[in-house]
C-alpha cells in the first residue's frame, strides 16, 4: 500500500528532521515494513504558471504549434508545443531551460527550425498523474509567474510503500487515518479524529430503495454480513474530479474515474473502508438484497469480465439478479455512468472468509477484497458512508441525501477488555519501561486504560483492533514492545540448568555416513527434488499411478512424490558427464510411498530415508563395481552396521534401470536393504551415458535399526597366530563367498580370519575356471596352537575344499 505523508500530516501533524528514508526505516521498525519511498514534486518550485497569449501554426510541422506565453512580470517566451488542448487564455505549467522534467533537462533548442524557449507540461510530465492527453490546465484565477509549488503545496509529497504482507493482521492500517495513528504513537504527536456528519444520517425524505440482509452474523462459514449501511443521494452530477482529488489518488497509485467513484476510493484509502456506489435508477425493483448467489448465477463485473457464481459466494442483488459480488467488485449493469443522477452508496462489513474465498475463486484481489478479508471494524461502515456522503455533497452542490441512513446491524460490535498491568507487560519483554510510558503508548494507539498507572489495569481494545487482531495480553506486549522499540531492549540469557542435550542418534548417523562418503570415498553430496513427473517414472519403468500425487502441482514434471532416488541420479549423471567423466555423488534423501493400510485421513504416507550414490568412471572395467562395493562395505563398517552381507541379486531386487549381471544385493539379517549395480545397457543408451556408471542405494532407516550402538572391546590376542594360504580352482560363476563358507565351516572357531588375496583367470586355471587364493589365519584366545592342531585344521580345510569340488592349486 502506498502512503502519502501529506495525507498522514492532515491527521497527525508530526514533527521530524528525518529524511524520507529515515521516516520509512522508523516506520519499518515500529509498525510495518516500508519497502520503497519516493519524493514527489521536488521540481515544482521551479515550474511556473504561464498564460497562453497566442497560438500560431508551426511553419514546418502540421501537428505542432508555436505558443507565446506570459511567464510573469511581463516576460514572454515562445514555446513549440504539440498538445491538442493548447489555446489562448488558458493557464499552463511552464518549465524554463535548465530545469529537469521527468528525468530530462529542458534546453532552449530549435524544433523543426523554430526556436523553443522551454516546455509546457502535461500532468504526466510533472509526474502528477498518468494523464498525457494534453497540457495540464491550471485554475483560471492563478497568477502567471507563480511557482506551481506555491499554487499547489500539496503536490510536494513523500510516498512510502508499505509491504501488504506486513499488514495482514492489521485491518486498521489499510487506510491513511490508521497509519496516522501509528505516526502519532511513534512521534508522540496528536491525532485528529475522523468526524462523521451525523446530521446526514437523519436526512429528510424517503429513499425508494428497500434493503434486506439474509443470513446472520459474520463468523464461520455461514457468516454473511455484520453490518450494511446504505444511503441514497439524488441530484448528483457525474464529472471528472477536481485536481486535488485526482492528484491525491494518483500519488498513491489509484486511477481517477469520476467524482463519485473517486469519492468511494478516497474513503477507502482514508479510512480503509471499501464503499460502492450503484446507480439508483439501475437497481431493478428498487430492492437491494444481500444474499448467497444461486449456483451458476452469472454476473458481468464492471471490469468487463463475466463470472459464474457459486452458492458459497455472497452477492448484492436487486429484484432480478446479482448486481455486485459482495466485497469484491460491483457489476457493470448498475455502475455509475456519465448520465447517472442518483446514487445508492453502500458501506458494509462483509464476512472476511466469504469475501476471501470468492475473490480467490474468481481471481480478483481488489482493494476492497484485500481489506474485507482482514476483518474490518464494523463501526467504519457508518463513518465511511457519512464521510463519503459529505464529500459527494461538497463536490456536487445540487446533490441531496434522500431519507435517513439505512443501517442494518446484525451483530453488535463486541468489546474486549484485557486485565493486565504495566509490570506484566514489561516483564514479558524483559525491558524496564516506566508504567507512565506504557500507558501513554496505549492511549495514543486508542486503547482505553482504566486503573492506577502503577497497579492493575483493565484495557479496553478499540473497535478497529478488536475484530481479531488484539484479544489478549501478549498482543499488548507487542504494542508496547514495538512502539518502545525492540532495539531498546537489552538482551540477556535466561537462567537454565546446564544439562547436555539428548543426542538425535539418527541424525548423528546420517552425518557420519555423509562425511564418510565425502572424505573416504571422495564423493560429493547433492540434493534432488522430492517431486517427479509421470514421464520420468515411465522412462525408468516405474508405475506413475502408484506414486502419491499432488492435488495442485506447479507443472506436469513435478506432480508426484518420488519412490526412488536412483533414476534422478542417473539424470544428474548425464548432466554432469557434459563436464567430467570421472566423478561421484550421493544424496541422503527421502522416498515416499502410500501407506498400505491407511485407516484415517490423518495417516501419513511411509517416508523412508535412503542413502543413494552414483559414481561415473572413465572406462568400463570390472574393478569399478568392486570399488563401489568396497565403498559400501566400508561405509557399513564405519556405521557399525552388524551382519551386513553382499549377495547375488534376486529377481525382485533388480530395478528396471539396473544391469542384472553386475548387480549385488545388500542384506541385513536376511532382509534386503540395498543394491549396488551398474546401469542397465538399455538405459545407458537411452540417456546417452558414457564410461561406467555404478550406483548404490541403501535403506538408511534399516541401517539405523541394525547399527551397533557401542564398540565391544576385546583385548588383542596374547598368543601367536598362524597364517595359512590356500588356492583352489573353481568354476567362473561360483561366488567366492561359497568357497569361503566351506572353509569357515571346516575350520571352525580357530579360524580368525579368511581373506581372498588373489583371483586369477587364465590358462592355468582352465577354460571357464578361476583360481582363488585365500589367506587364512588360525589362532586361539587362550593358547598357542600346537603343531598337530595346526596340521589337523589345515587338512580339514583342504579336504573340505576338495570334496566340495574345488581342487587345490599348488
Amino acid at each position: 500500500m502506498q502512503i502519502s505523508l501529506n495525507w498522514i500530516r492532515q491527521f497527525c501533524p508530526f514533527e521530524t528532521t528525518e529524511s524520507p528514508r529515515e521516516i520509512g526505516a522508523r516506520f519499518s521498525l515500529h509498525t510495518a515494513e516500508v519497502e520503497h519511498w519516493s519524493i514527489r514534486g521536488s521540481n515544482l518550485s521551479q515550474i511556473l504558471v504561464a498564460a497562453v497569449l497566442g497560438v500560431k501554426p508551426h511553419p514546418n510541422a502540421d501537428r505542432l504549434t508555436v505558443v507565446e506565453v506570459d511567464i510573469g512580470r511581463g516576460e514572454k517566451r515562445d514555446v513549440v508545443c504539440g498538445a491538442p488542448n493548447v489555446r489562448p487564455g488558458i493557464l499552463v505549467p511552464y518549465a524554463a531551460p535548465g530545469i529537469v522534467v521527468d528525468g530530462h533537462e529542458i534546453r532552449e533548442t530549435k524544433v523543426r527550425g523554430v526556436l523553443s524557449q522551454g516546455m509546457l507540461c502535461s500532468e504526466k510530465e510533472l509526474e502528477l498523474s498518468v494523464d498525457s492527453t494534453g497540457l495540464w490546465e491550471l485554475p483560471p484565477d492563478a497568477l502567471a509567474g507563480t511557482p506551481i509549488a506555491t499554487l499547489r503545496p500539496d503536490l510536494r509529497d513523500v510516498i512510502l510503500e508499505v509491504d501488504n504482507k506486513s499488514l495482514t493482521h492489521r485491518p486498521d492500517l489499510w487506510g491513511h487515518h490508521g497509519i496516522a495513528r501509528e505516526f502519532s504513537a511513534i512521534y508522540h504527536a496528536p491525532l485528529l479524529a475522523l468526524k462523521a456528519d451525523d446530521g446526514l444520517a437523519n436526512s429528510r425524505g424517503q429513499s425508494q430503495i428497500r434493503v434486506s440482509v439474509e443470513g446472520k452474523g459474520v463468523g464461520g462459514r455461514d457468516g454473511f454480513c455484520r453490518r450494511y449501511c446504505g444511503l441514497q443521494i439524488d441530484g448528483v452530477r457525474v464529472s471528472p474530479s477536481p485536481d486535488w482529488l485526482r492528484h491525491r489518488l494518483a500519488f498513491i497509485g489509484a486511477r481517477s474515474v469520476n467524482n463519485i467513484v473517486d469519492v468511494t476510493n478516497y474513503i477507502l484509502f482514508e479510512l480503509g473502508q471499501p464503499l460502492h456506489a450503484f446507480d439508483t435508477q439501475r437497481i431493478e425493483g428498487a430492492e437491494v438484497r444481500v444474499r448467497r448467489a444461486h449456483q451458476g448465477e452469472e454476473l458481468d463485473l464492471l471490469d468487463g469480465q463475466e463470472v459464474k457464481l457459486d452458492h458459497e459466494d455472497l452477492v448484492i442483488a436487486d429484484a432480478r439478479s446479482a448486481i455486485a459480488l459482495a466485497g469484491v467488485m460491483g457489476g457493470a449493469g448498475s455502475q455509475i455512468t456519465e448520465s447517472t443522477t442518483s446514487i445508492f452508496l453502500e458501506s458494509a462489513n462483509f464476512a472476511p472468509a466469504r469475501v476471501r474465498r470468492a475473490s480467490v475463486r474468481v481471481g480478483k484481489r481488489t482493494d476492497s477484497s484485500l481489506r474485507f478479508e482482514k476483518s474490518l471494524d464494523p463501526e467504519n461502515a457508518r463513518t465511511g458512508i457519512l464521510r463519503a456522503a459529505r464529500m459527494v455533497l461538497d463536490l456536487c452542490p445540487e446533490a441531496k441525501v434522500i431519507g435517513p441512513l439505512k443501517d442494518l446491524a446484525h451483530e453488535p460490535a463486541q468489546t474486549i477488555e484485557i486485565s493486565t498491568s504495566a509490570a506484566i507487560l514489561t516483564r514479558r519483554l524483559g525491558a524496564e519501561i516506566e508504567a507512565r510510558e506504557v500507558r501513554a503508548t496505549l492511549d495514543r494507539l486508542g486503547f482505553l486504560v482504566r486503573g492506577d498507572t502503577g497497579g492493575e489495569w483493565k484495557v479496553r481494545v478499540p473497535s478497529w483492533r478488536a475484530t481479531k487482531d488484539v484479544s489478549m495480553r501478549e498482543d499488548l506486549v507487542e504494542e508496547i514492545g514495538r512502539i518502545h522499540g525492540y532495539d531498546q531492549i537489552k538482551p540477556f540469557a535466561p537462567e537454565w540448568t546446564c544439562d547436555s542435550p539428548r543426542v538425535n542418534e539418527h541424525r548423528r548417523l546420517e552425518r557420519t555416513a555423509k562425511e564418510f562418503l565425502a572424505l573416504h570415498c571422495g564423493m560429493s553430496e547433492i540434493f534432488t527434488y522430492s517431486l517427479v513427473g509421470a514421464a520420468h517414472c515411465q522412462r525408468f519403468g516405474l508405475d506413475p499411478q502408484s506414486h502419491l500425487k499432488l492435488k495442485n502441482p506447479m507443472s506436469e514434471d513435478m506432480d508426484r512424490l518420488r519412490q526412488e532416488i536412483a533414476p534422478m541420479h542417473l539424470e544428474k549423471a548425464v548432466e554432469n558427464q557434459r563436464y567430467a567423466r570421472s566423478f561421484g555423488f550421493f544424496e541422503l534423501g527421502r522416498v515416499y510411498r502410500k501407506k498400505k493400510d491407511r485407516r484415517q485421513a490423518s495417516d501419513l504416507p511411509d517416508e523412508r530415508s535412503h542413502l543413494a550414490g552414483c559414481i561415473s568412471f572413465e572406462k568400463k572395467i570390472p574393478e569399478n563395481f568392486y570399488t563401489v562395493r568396497h565403498f559400501v562395505l566400508s561405509l557399513l563398517e564405519r556405521l557399525r552396521v552388524a551382519d551386513a552381507q553382499v549377495v547375488p541379486p534376486s529377481e525382485a531386487s533388480i530395478k528396471p534401470w539396473a544391469h542384472p549381471g553386475v548387480h549385488a544385493r545388500v542384506r541385513l539379517r536376511s532382509k534386503d536393504c540395498g543394491q549396488i549395480y551398474r546401469v542397465h545397457p538399455a538405459i545407458e543408451a537411452i540417456l546417452g551415458l558414457e564410461g561406467d556408471v555404478i550406483l548404490f542405494d541403501l535403506d538408511f532407516d534399516a541401517l539405523f535399526e541394525s547399527r551397533q550402538r557401542e564398540i565391544i572391546y576385546q583385548s588383542p590376542l596374547k598368543y601367536p597366530t598362524v597364517p595359512f594360504d590356500v588356492a583352489v580352482i573353481a568354476p567362473e560363476r561360483v561366488p567366492v563367498s561359497e568357497i569361503q563358507e566351506k572353509i569357515e565351516k571346516a575350520a571352525g572357531k580357530l579360524l580368525l580370519s579368511a581373506e581372498v588375496f588373489d583371483v586369477f583367470h587364465g590358462e592355468q586355471s582352465g577354460q571357464g575356471q578361476k583360481s582363488v587364493a585365500f589367506h587364512l589365519i588360525f589362532g586361539a584366545l587362550d593358547r598357542t596352537l600346537s603343531g598337530e592342531e595346526r596340521k589337523e585344521i589345515e587338512e580339514r580345510v583342504m579336504e573340505a575344499l576338495k570334496s566340495s569340488g574345488f581342487p587345490l592349486r599348488q
Binding site: 519499518s28 515500529h30 509498525t31 504482507k165 506486513s166 495482514t168 472468509a353 476471501r356 516483564r427 514479558r428 519483554l429 525491558a431 489478549m472 501478549e474 498482543d475 507487542e478 514492545g481 514495538r482 525492540y486 532495539d487 538482551p491 540477556f492 540469557a493 535466561p494 537454565w496 546446564c498 544439562d499 542435550p501 539428548r502 538425535n504 541424525r507 555423509k514 562425511e515 565425502a518 572424505l519 571422495g522 560429493s524 553430496e525 547433492i526 540434493f527 534432488t528 527434488y529 522430492s530 517431486l531 502419491l548 499432488l550 492435488k551 502441482p553 506447479m554 513435478m558 512424490l561 563436464y579 566423478f583 515416499y592 491407511r598 485421513a601 490423518s602 501419513l604 504416507p605 517416508e607
Partner: protein, 360 residues
C-alpha cells in the same frame, strides 16, 4: 659371484691353531683382510661374520679351546685371540658401514620423481554447502543445550497450520503457497511442524532445533525454489522473555558469520508468534547497496521469530499461563547464499558438481 670358502681358510687345523696362538697373528690378519676384500655384498659379509664370530664361529671356537692350555699359555694365547677378535670385529664393522653407505648413495642417485606428474587422482569429496551450514548451526545450538529433532515431509493440515494458529480461510495461508496431496495431506511449508511435534513429545522446559527440507509451490527463479531448507528453533520455560530471544539470536548470528553483522528487529506478523519479529541483516552480498538477493532494499529478511503464541502452546499441551517461549525459523539456503555471495538459489538443487565441489 665367486664365493669364498671360509671353512678352508680358517680350518680347524691344530697346527694352524698352534700357529695362530703361538706365533704372530699378522698372517691371519692378512689372510682375513684378503677375504674381506673379496666380499661383494652384505650377505657375504654376514656369512663371514657368522663363520668367525658366531656361536660356532672360528674365533669363538679358539676361545673355547683355551681351556685346554696351561695357565701360562692360556694367558698369552687369550690375549692374542682377543686382540684378533677385536681386530676382526672392527674390520667387519667398517666393512658393514661402507656397504650401507654405498647402498644409500645408490638409492639417492637412482630414486627420483617427476613432481609435475599427477598420477593418483583420488578426489576429495564434500558435503552440500547447505548441509555444512546446517551442521555448523546444529553444533552451535547443541553446545547451548538444544536437542535436534526432525519430522515427516508429508504433514497433516492440523500440524502444518491448525496447531500453529493458522485456521482455514486465514489470510496467512496465502503467505505460504502450499502443495496439497490428493490424500488430503500436504508437504510441510515450514519446519515449524517440527516445533509442533516437539511440543507434543517433550515436557517443558526444553530447547529444540529442527532443521529440514520445506516445500512451497512457487515459481522457480533466482530467489525462489520449490524446495529449500529451514532450521526451526524453540525454547520453552517459565518466564521466557523477548530479551532472551534477542540474546540467542545475537549469539547465533555472531557464531554463524564470525564477524559483526548489522541487524535490525522489526515487527513481523506470523500467526504462531505474538509478538512476532522479522530479523533483518544488512545484505552481505552488496553491503546494503541493493542487489537481486536483497530485492534492492539493502536488508535481507533472515529470520522470522517471536514469542510462541498461547494458542500454539495450548495445541502442544503446554499451559500458557505457566510457560512462555520463543521460536525462530532460519532460511539455510539464503544464509549460504549470503555467506558465499551466491546469487541464484537454483544452484542448490542443480546437482551440478561444478557448483557443489567448490565447497570442499
Amino acid at each position: 659371484m665367486e664365493s669364498v670358502d671360509f671353512a678352508e681358510v680358517l680350518s680347524p687345523d691344530p697346527a694352524h691353531f698352534e700357529h695362530a696362538v703361538k706365533e704372530d697373528l699378522s698372517t691371519i690378519q692378512a689372510e682375513f683382510a684378503a677375504l674381506l676384500r673379496n666380499v661383494s655384498d652384505e650377505k657375504e659379509l654376514a656369512t663371514l661374520k657368522v663363520h668367525l664370530l658366531g656361536k660356532k664361529g672360528r674365533i669363538t671356537g679358539l676361545l673355547k679351546e683355551l681351556g685346554q692350555l696351561s695357565p701360562d699359555e692360556r694367558q698369552a694365547c687369550g690375549k692374542r685371540i682377543n686382540e684378533l677378535k677385536s681386530y676382526v670385529e672392527e674390520a667387519l664393522g667398517e666393512a658393514e658401514a661402507s656397504f650401507v653407505d654405498r647402498q644409500m648413495r645408490e638409492r639417492l642417485e637412482t630414486e627420483w620423481v617427476d613432481v609435475s606428474l599427477n598420477l593418483s587422482r583420488r578426489p576429495v569429496g564434500n558435503l552440500h554447502p547447505v548441509s555444512q551450514v546446517q551442521y555448523e548451526i546444529e553444533d552451535i545450538f547443541s553446545a547451548m543445550g538444544f536437542e535436534v529433532l526432525d519430522g515427516p515431509h508429508v504433514e497433516t493440515d492440523e500440524v502444518n497450520f491448525e496447531a500453529l494458529n493458522i485456521p482455514k480461510e486465514h489470510p496467512a495461508r496465502d503467505m505460504q503457497d502450499t502443495f496439497y496431496l490428493e490424500d488430503g495431506n500436504l508437504l510441510r511449508t515450514h519446519t515449524s511442524t517440527i516445533q509442533v511435534r516437539g511440543m507434543q513429545r517433550l515436557k517443558p522446559p526444553f530447547k529444540i532445533i529442527g532443521p529440514g527440507k520445506v516445500f512451497r509451490s512457487e515459481r522457480i527463479d533466482a530467489s525462489h525454489e520449490v524446495t529449500f531448507h529451514q532450521l526451526e528453533g524453540m525454547m520453552v520455560n517459565r518466564d521466557i522473555k523477548v530479551a532472551h530471544l534477542i540474546h540467542f539470536m545475537k549469539v547465533l548470528l555472531s557464531s554463524i558469520f564470525r564477524r559483526e553483522v548489522e541487524v535490525r528487529l522489526r515487527p513481523g506478523y506470523f500467526p504462531f508468534v505474538e509478538p512476532g519479529f522479522e530479523l533483518d541483516i544488512r545484505c552481505l552480498l552488496c553491503s546494503g547497496k541493493g542487489c537481486s538477493v536483497c530485492k534492492q532494499v539493502g536488508w535481507v529478511e533472515l529470520l522470522p521469530c517471536g514469542m510462541v503464541h498461547p494458542n500454539v502452546l495450548r495445541a502442544g499441551n503446554i499451559d500458557p499461563d505457566k510457560y512462555s517461549g520463543f521460536a525462530f525459523g532460519l532460511g539455510l539456503d539464503r544464509l549460504v547464499m549470503m555467506r558465499y555471495g551466491i546469487d541464484d538459489i537454483r544452484h542448490f538443487h542443480s546437482a551440478d558438481l561444478r557448483f557443489i565441489r567448490q565447497f570442499r
